[in-house]
């Protein structure tokens, strides 16, 4: 069985987002880049599955759409334990663009189990996984919180209202994973870090894809106004504020 994990190169989640060029571009100065946390958990689960020889997983590949500056993040994935990596050499313009690139690669290089994170910590689009499966016309299972392999079959657990659902899809399948898929992201060990530079990182030319979205501008959310304290007996003022300031009654 061959596993592909789609990884996104995103700003560290503690980054203070700033925008430049009239608020049309994210300011990347001084930003530390990481593997999208959901993708990192997916990769961790893939490595856990591979560590059990009974699961007969021959290879874990990671794929990302991005420029050369995404390579440190890719090599981090290799250090954690992916066997090889693919970088589609294009700036990720939107979810459709990214999904089309990844789907094209998979068409030519089939995998049995494809993981993608349920969302990415930058734009929180939650769209790439579903789009990839649609491009490939393969089943996808969303909100997956557990994955195992039994007798060559992939068993996925997805959260639904009030419980969970067990799915044994036909392969190939695309699993869109959320937290719970792995306990903690795996830490890159020294041996992995030393081996990462020796593992294949294949750079693939992108295909032509129509870009369907355009960023008009970014806006920061308004800072929360300070909490107003009203004396308990002053109901009149409370009603007045709710009616005229908050405009909720």
């Amino acid at each position: 069985m061959k596993i592909l994990v789609c990884i996104s190169n995103v700003p560290d989640t503690t980054t203070k987002a700033k925008f430049v060029n009239d608020n049309t571009a994210f300011d990347t100065a001084g930003v530390q880049w990481i593997i999208n946390p959901w993708d990192e958990l997916a990769l961790t689960r893939a490595i856990e599955l591979k560590s059990d020889a009974a699961n007969s997983i021959e290879n874990i590949t990671v794929i990302t759409v991005g420029g050369k500056d995404a390579e440190p993040t890719i090599r981090k994935a290799l250090a954690i334990g992916a066997d090889d990596a693919v970088r589609i050499d294009a700036e990720p313009k939107d979810a459709y663009f990214v999904a089309a690139q990844i789907a094209e690669y998979i068409k030519n290089n089939p995998f049995d189990l494809i993981f993608s994170g349920i969302e990415s910590a930058d734009h929180n689009g939650s769209a790439v996984g579903g789009m990839v499966s649609e491009f490939l016309n393969i089943p996808s299972v969303s909100a997956v919180s557990a994955a195992s392999i039994e007798g060559g079959q992939v068993k996925l657990t997805r959260d639904i209202d009030g419980g969970n659902e067990q799915v044994t899809p036909e392969l190939p399948v695309l699993a869109i994973v959320q937290k719970g898929i792995a306990k903690e992201p795996m830490i890159a060990a020294m041996r992995g870090i030393m081996m990462a530079r020796k593992k294949p990182l294949n750079v693939v030319a992108p295909i032509e894809v129509e870009v369907l979205t355009e960023v008009v501008n970014y806006e920061m959310p308004q800072p929360k106004p300070p909490c107003k304290m009203i004396e308990p007996e002053n109901v009149k003022e409370l009603v007045d504020l709710l009616q005229n300031e908050a405009k909720v009654i």
């Binding site: 440190p72 090599r75 981090k76 830490i187 890159a188 060990a189 020294m190 041996r191 030393m194 990462a196």
Partner: protein
């Protein structure tokens, strides 16, 4: 071979170094950054959530954490691959030490294991010893401790009474004695024990396995800080040590002990940086949350002053720590190609070369951390004094750094004494230069005109060096061999030397940063340099006065006083505004960002 070094130990005092000759932490490559990240991830997941349990010395927790670090390969970073290490540079292992330094008691267990616990075997062991012990210390299968100190033998390290006598059949040394303050003593499997064979004047070193018959332990010491670190007194009663476990040659133990301490000292310099950066993060976080008089306390000048000082002391220490670390790597690369010089000897000689710089960093950085954690308590006010806040643990844990790896008193003496001896033995042309400086005093010029930002800084630093040089020359002339008994004078000169080395290292780092940092950040680095050099001038001035009046060389006092005034003259700096700018950046980012 020494002449092939870019810079020799102690030579900073008489040589101008260029910015492109030094290593700065901003130059860590991707792999090194990944190793640092692994350390951070390990602390976040395994150590920080367990600090309380660690301090309570919950059974097996510390040993378990050391072993987990071993599974990640973090115990053998710079040991040879042949013995399960990763063959990385000293700078890389320093980076790991720095990151682990944030981890309070675990940091101590980690340093003791990877440093003094494993290094004697790594650098002095023969192939069999390394195969048997080092390869398991590097993976965490075994844990290590270093047993030098005794109840009556601390700073005077060679005065210990532990004895080793060859057995009649010649197969064993019989070890008798006691050691104390042994870090990791409660769980270490392997100990490097220093003892004197028969009536030898100096130590030999032995590899001792803790489960051997005749070894007993006192209960854990009750300590002011690093409560989670295992600290035991160990007794050896007719312990049979196989002769093949003699480490190095008979009588080589004291040299091993001292060289390992050179390494331990510079490592400690790195270690405390991790603690300092985390304490700054906590200080900024708190001051960005705590409100008084209707506003965040981070708005107040007094708090900004503290935050900025914390950052400056950390940044300047870091600049010097990594500068000397790379110098050690360079020296090792040269030494290892020398005939008859194996990896161990090359490593030890490289550390020995920079013994004075290591002592400088031990003292300077440990005192910097003490400042940082003290102000952390102060910034947090009443809460800082509460055991609920991390400041309490940081404050107590920091204190040991001024005591172990050689007290700061011993190290202060070493700073000046080592450099003077290197001058007297002609390793560096110290006294030739010092005599030139003294000769200049008759023709002292006080007409320096500004020539540009870094030109001015270099001028100041070169003048600071002149202060140290003239004092060394005069002190040696006055006291000769008795100078070693004038500890107060040595201390004053050492404080000057520390400030010279750190000022120069910071200046060179900031100069190098011009090319890599955006202007807004770069200006803040210059602010740090400005404040530091401005303050260093008055510190140097004060110590120089102390030294001059204590030396009491009647023919020289007046000349020296004039010279000190001229050589510590620096342009005024609006330190208030500079510190505010530095603090505002910390406050904006809510963490240490330099």
């Amino acid at each position: 071979m020494e002449e092939n070094l870019t810079i020799k130990g102690g030579e900073f005092l008489i040589k101008q170094t260029e910015a492109n000759e030094i290593f700065i932490p901003e130059e860590f490559d991707e792999e090194q950054q990944m190793i640092a990240q692994t350390c951070d991830d390990f602390l976040e997941t395994e150590v920080f959530p367990n600090l309380e349990r660690i301090d309570a010395q919950e059974e097996g927790i510390m040993e378990g954490l050391v072993k987990k670090a071993g599974e990640l390969g973090l115990l053998g970073i710079s040991f040879p691959e042949e013995y399960e290490g990763f063959g990385q540079s000293f700078v890389t292992s320093m980076l790991a030490s720095e990151r682990m330094g944030a981890a309070n008691s675990f940091a101590v267990a980690y340093s003791a294991h990877t440093g003094i616990g494993s290094c004697p075997i790594a650098y002095y062991g023969d192939h069999e010893q390394k195969q048997k012990y080092l390869s398991k210390l590097a993976t965490g299968e075994l844990t290590g401790a270093y047993c030098l100190t005794e109840p009556g033998s601390g700073s005077d390290a060679n005065s210990g009474k532990t004895k080793a006598v060859l057995s009649e059949d010649g197969k064993h040394y019989i070890l008798n004695g006691q050691k104390m303050w042994i870090t990791n003593g409660g769980f270490a499997d392997v100990q490097t024990v220093f003892a004197k064979i028969d009536n030898d004047r100096v130590y030999s070193a032995f590899i001792v396995e803790s489960q051997w018959d005749g070894i007993t332990y006192n209960p854990e010491e009750k300590k002011m800080g690093i409560k989670g670190s295992s600290t035991r007194q160990i007794f050896y009663n007719d312990v049979k040590v196989p002769v093949e476990n003699l480490l190095g040659k008979r009588g080589e133990g004291f040299r091993i002990a001292l060289n390992i301490l050179h390494m331990g000292r510079i490592k400690l310099g790195g270690n405390v940086l991790g603690g300092a950066k985390r304490a700054i993060d906590q200080s900024v976080n708190y001051s960005n949350e705590r409100k008084q008089f209707g506003q965040l306390i981070s708005n107040f000048g007094s708090i900004k002053h503290k935050l900025a000082q914390q950052a400056i002391k950390t940044f300047t220490s870091e600049s010097a720590v990594y500068r000397v670390s790379r110098n050690i790597d360079e020296a090792y690369e040269i030494y290892k190609n020398m005939e008859g010089c194996d990896v161990g000897r090359a490593t030890m000689d490289a550390f020995g070369q920079f013994g004075s710089e290591a002592a400088i960093m031990k003292v300077f950085a440990s005192e910097a951390l003490d400042y940082v954690v003290d102000e952390e308590v102060q910034i947090m006010g009443g809460m800082g004094f509460s055991a609920e806040m991390p400041a309490d643990r940081n404050y107590r844990d920091s204190r040991i750094n001024r005591i172990f790896e050689g007290t700061n008193e011993i190290n202060r003496i070493l700073v000046t004494d080592t450099i003077i001896k290197r001058g007297q033995k002609n390793h560096v042309a110290l006294f030739e230069r010092a005599k030139e400086v003294i000769a200049e005093l008759d023709n002292l010029k006080d007409d320096y005109q500004s020539q540009g930002y870094f030109e001015d800084k270099r001028h100041y630093v070169e003048n600071f060096k002149k202060v140290a040089l003239m004092l060394m020359e005069v002190a040696v002339n006055k006291f000769g061999r008795k100078l070693v008994h004038e500890q107060e004078v040595l201390n004053s000169i050492s404080d000057i030397l520390m400030n010279v080395y750190v000022a120069e290292s910071t200046m060179l780092r900031v100069q190098k940063l011009e090319a890599v940092k955006p202007a807004e950040m770069y200006n803040l680095y210059k602010d740090m340099l400005d404040v530091y050099v401005f303050e260093a001038a008055s510190i140097i001035y004060k110590h120089a006065l102390d030294a001059i009046h204590s030396i009491e060389d009647e023919t020289m006092t007046k000349k020296l006083m004039n010279a000190v005034k001229v050589y510590t003259k620096v342009d005024g700096v609006n330190t208030k505004d500079a510190r505010r700018r530095i603090a505002d950046k910390l406050i904006e980012e809510n963490k240490y960002v330099f």
